[in-house]
């Protein structure tokens, strides 16, 4: 097991109280596993992605632990996290288009970043060139300024920069959201390629595009309102979803080329506010199958090998 997250609670501190963005998240990730992390906006998936590498100043680690390759990841301690960042855990941010300093040539920025992390740029120069070619960029981008690249090119540069030190864990936060469909595919394929070549260990791929992620991810984890709803092998989660939320989420997706004449069904209602969330199962109010027991929080249990679900209605409870 490379990554183990246990009961992780991260809250956003606001003037009106704590927003419980992550409320007891437990999962694990195997070596080389690519996990798609899906859910609606505000369900905590980006918060989880960020929590694994760097909490911003509004985020507070309340409880829970993270373990990477048997070592504790001290996410509450910013200074202690520094040695792990980039070397062990890395991030491709949601804002990849603006992640590069606009007034530095890309090559120089990379050199300065590497040097500041105690790596001799010359040691990684060949690897950098090879990886740029792998994602379809020439080495001339190193002499360019970010403004001279297209959005897709910047995205790929950031992908190469983030993975240059071969991290054991890579968090890809909504990396495909701003791209067109064909570019989305090539970005996803490059990430799988990076994993296959051992440039990155395991990967958390945060997205809301279930259709895209199930094509290349090994597993899918569905989050709802700061809780894990379901985690399992990608094919199983899509073909045989156990949690009512996953089922409804999937039925809300259109399928290309098929016209069954049926209207797509959305999920009625909205997710609960996380400032003062309801007790028990957080999907309760929108769930057609809810019953009395749902006032109590359902534990995440393994319903089939590697397939976990947190619902009182799934078998195994």
């Amino acid at each position: 097991m490379s990554l183990r997250v246990n009961g992780l609670k991260v809250h956003y501190r606001t003037l009106r109280g704590d927003v419980q963005a992550l409320d007891g998240v437990t999962f694990s990730l195997g070596d080389g596993e690519i996990m798609g992390l899906v859910g609606e906006s505000g369900c905590g998936k980006s918060t989880l992605g960020k929590s694994l590498i760097r909490l911003d100043h509004r985020m507070h680690h309340i409880a829970g632990s993270i373990e990477l390759n048997g070592r504790d990841v001290p996410i509450g301690d910013d200074a202690a996290m520094v040695p792990l960042r980039y070397h062990e855990i890395s991030l491709i941010p949601q804002y990849a288009m603006s992640a590069l300093n606009p007034t530095r040539r890309i090559g120089r920025m990379i050199d300065e970043l590497l040097r500041s992390r105690g790596v001799r740029p010359a040691d990684r120069a060949d690897e950098l060139r090879r990886r740029l070619e792998l994602v379809g960029l020439g080495t001339d981008v190193l002499r360019r300024f970010p403004i001279e690249l297209s959005g897709g090119m910047k995205q790929r540069v950031v992908m190469v920069v983030s993975t240059l030190l071969d991290p054991s864990l890579l968090i890809a936060d909504e990396v495909t959201s701003a791209l067109d469909v064909s570019t989305q595919r090539s970005v996803a394929e490059s990430l799988v390629e990076f994993r296959d070549r051992g440039h990155v260990g395991s990967m958390v791929f945060v997205t809301h595009d279930v259709a895209l992620v199930h094509q290349f991810a090994d597993t899918i984890m569905v989050m709802y309102a700061g809780h894990v709803a379901e985690k399992g092998p990608a094919a199983d989660v899509v073909s045989d979803p156990r949690h009512p939320y996953t089922q409804m989420l999937l039925s809300a997706l259109p399928e290309a080329g098929e016209d069954t004449g049926e209207r797509l069904r959305g999920i009625p209602g909205t997710p609960p506010g996380l400032l003062d969330p309801p007790t028990g199962c957080r999907f309760r109010d929108r769930c057609p199958m809810a019953f009395d027991k749902c006032a109590e929080r359902p534990p995440l249990v393994e319903t089939a090998p590697g397939h976990w679900s947190a619902c009182w209605k799934t078998e195994g409870h």
């Binding site: 760097r54 911003d56 520094v82 960042r85 890395s90 992640a99 300065e112 970043l113 300024f145």
Partner: protein, 331 residues
């Protein structure tokens, strides 16, 4: 690159032409006749003599020609470096009077602008570092920018000049000395220069510090800074990037401020009776010396345009985004 420069130069040339035209128009369409007011000082009672003298002076100043000819004469004189003859200091040419004052103004302005900009930026970046500094240094900046300039200058002249007696409070040099390249005269120049310089420096400092502090806080929250921090880059690197990027708007601010700084110099020179362009403006206004006034304004216009052009050039070298616009590449 050259197309960009050509376009910029064209805009500057147009601005210059418009400014010169307005500059020429103002004294001519303003109430008050310069020749009459000059002759009034002589209290000539004979109307015949007055008429002859008026005709003579109008010819000397070129006021007898029709307006459009005056305009063309003005341009041709301008291109030959001839701005006419001063009324106040008749018969000295305007150019000579101005050239005598320009070194004083430049010696005052350039160090005050450049040093306050550099120190203010450092100061602001430094203040953005911590809450404590932010809460102690910044209010000083606010007080400095909010202080009426004349009041601050008078306060300095009074405290450092009159009470402490360290610096002289008026003039460009001691009148007891003959100008020359000797140590005594140079020392006198420096001591006379110090107070006007200090007052301009202090007032401008606060504004730059506040601007820089706000810009750098914005840059430190920018995505590229967050990305670097996420990858564990040390504060030093993030700050260096943020500082450099925060400087760009400050440079634009400098270009915008240059015009107002010259009016600032006017006040300084008047308060300290410093023999630069500002004092010249006041004197020529008091004496209805429109030709001199016109010449001084022309110098100010040229100064502002040149300064802006230099900043345009500087921008090309420090901001890659300007370079991309220049070559017309799509971003």
């Amino acid at each position: 690159m050259w197309r960009y420069m050509g376009r910029k130069l064209l805009v500057y040339a147009l601005t210059f032409a418009v400014a010169v035209t307005i500059n020429w128009m103002i004294p001519r369409f303003m109430p008050g006749d310069p020749v009459r007011s000059m002759l009034n000082r002589g209290s000539i009672s004979d109307p015949g003599a007055l008429e002859r003298m008026t005709a003579y002076y109008e010819e000397v100043f070129g006021l007898d020609a029709p307006l459009h000819e005056q305009y063309l004469n003005f341009w041709s004189g301008l291109l030959r470096g001839d701005l006419g003859i001063s009324v106040m200091l008749y018969p000295e040419p305007v150019v000579d009077v101005i050239l005598r004052a320009v070194p004083y103004t430049l010696a005052l302005l350039i160090p005050a602008i450049v040093l306050s900009w550099i120190v203010g930026n450092r100061f602001g970046a430094f203040a953005a570092r911590s809450k404590v500094l932010d809460n102690s240094i910044l209010p000083i900046g606010y007080v400095l920018t909010a202080t009426p300039y004349m009041w601050l200058a008078l306060l300095m002249a009074w405290s450092l000049g009159i009470v402490a007696g360290i610096f002289p409070t008026a003039g460009g040099h001691s009148y007891a000395l003959t100008p020359g390249m000797n140590a005594e005269f140079l020392a006198s120049l420096v001591t006379h220069w110090f107070l006007p310089f200090l007052s301009m420096f202090v007032v401008a400092l606060g504004g730059w510090a506040i601007g820089m502090r706000n810009m750098i806080i914005y840059e430190l929250e920018a995505d590229y800074a967050t990305y670097l921090r996420t990858l564990g880059a040390p504060r030093k690197l993030v700050r260096r990037y943020a500082y450099r990027n925060a400087l760009l708007p400050q440079i634009t601010g400098l270009a915008v401020q240059l015009g107002t700084i010259i009016t600032g110099a006017l006040l300084t020179e008047i308060v300290f009776n410093y023999p630069g362009l500002g004092t010249l403006v006041l004197d020529s206004l008091n004496n209805r010396d429109f030709f001199l006034l016109q010449g001084v304004f022309l110098f100010v216009v040229i100064g502002v345009l040149v300064a802006n052009f230099v900043i345009d050039l500087v921008y090309v070298f420090i901001d890659p985004r300007t370079r991309v616009q220049m070559t017309g590449a799509s971003s």
